[in-house]
Subunit: 209 residues, 2 copies
DNA sequence: AACGGGAATGGCTGATCGGCCAATAGACGC
DNA sequence: GCGTCTATTGGCCGATCAGCCATTCCCGTT
């Protein structure tokens, strides 16, 4: 046929405004079509199997299950699902975790629209897409200790004032293990106690206000 | 006249996608028209005096000068300028500071579109607009303690990983006193340990990355 | 199949924390 | 002058932390 079928998109973001605006924007671009939207990970998964879109645009910060978990589960069920992370975070850890979880691309929300369209097409074609903005970040700060996903979870709980024992309970692991993760965080963040670790987390953009 | 003039809007947000999408969305609504966009506070101010819009939609988190500062300066130059804060932050401090700085309204980015349109019209008509979502937050926790200067100093040191004894030494006071300040911080910041106190400090904007 | 790293676990110990009690001194506003 | 608030200090104690030891399991890479 002369007009190739549109790339069928699914949007997942907890901000209604961004969802609506983005849908508008994407539907205005020839060759792209938004066929489903979701505001959390759970509905994203069920809507995916229902609509079977081509590409999911997924925010990292969602209520409930976060974007990383969502990618992981989606790719476990549909290994050929293609996901473009669309995040406002520039934290190196977020990017790395997203890609490791199976995302095919990662762009920050301040990409130019042309760059976004390009990324979607790239991904749909089977490629990877890292915003150049993002690529620079990755190249830059890959020196220091890499915070693992588990450690990020622990840091998030430490931030909320939980003790090691509580962290263990919440994550379904022993207090010893939680303590080990905290110890590891202290080393990697070059902090001398959990309070400083939290501060470093904010400074590095791992934690968001 | 039969068709009243549109409300002329200006968008200020550092996320290009949200800007583009939102502009689309707003221009699609009869009676609203986006006449200018900016991605930082400085250009927002100069574009305002150039275009003289009716209402500014302003994000709090901007590169460089933040949204609060932008409102303050704008209102200093144009006391009748009307600004609707459009933030993803639900932090009580952010809301309070924005309103104190002269914003006419505050909605979070997950308002429904109808509510957003309503807020814009409300503000243009000279009223105030607090998203109901936001209003609840404000009503809830408006009765917290004020952090004293000394406590701020202590918080700054705790953030850097100093122990109570070290804080005491650095401030020329005894460890007991330092401990008392920390205890007071825990109460006022509703934190259960120093790590959470630091986190709350960042969340409230008392500490900056 | 071997290797490296993350994740999970246990025990031990001295340092540190946070809560609870009470007290004195100076500053500010009414 | 009186009350309120912050800043300061002390003792006591159980809870929690952070450091150091070693071990097992699993996964992805080589």
């Amino acid at each position: 046929m002369s007009t190739p079928a549109s790339i069928r998109l699914m949007l997942v973001d907890d901000h209604a405004i961004l969802r609506a605006g983005l849908a508008n924007l994407l539907n205005g671009e020839p060759g792209l079509k938004v066929v489903a939207v979701a505001d959390d990970g759970e509905s994203a998964l069920s809507l995916w199997s229902e609509h079977r879109p081509d590409v999911m645009l997924l925010d990292i910060s969602l209520g409930g299950m976060d974007g990383i978990e969502t990618v992981r589960k989606l790719r476990a069920d549909f290994p050929d699902a293609r996901v473009l992370m669309l995040s406002s975070s520039e934290a190196e850890e977020d990017i790395r975790h997203a890609m490791e979880a199976g995302a095919s691309g990662y762009v920050t929300k301040n990409v130019r629209r042309a760059e976004l369209f390009q990324a979607i097409r790239e991904i749909h074609a089977g490629g990877q897409a890292i915003g150049e903005h993002v690529a620079r970040l990755l190249a830059a700060g890959s020196e220091q200790g890499v915070i693992s996903r588990r450690e990020m979870e622990v840091l998030g709980l430490v931030r909320q004032g939980f003790t090691n024992a509580e962290v263990g309970r919440l994550l379904g692991i022993s207090e010893r293990t939680a303590k080990a993760h905290v110890a590891s965080l202290l080393v990697k963040l070059q902090a001398s106690d959990r309070a400083e670790a939290v501060a470093r987390g904010f400074e590095r953009g791992l934690l968001k206000p």
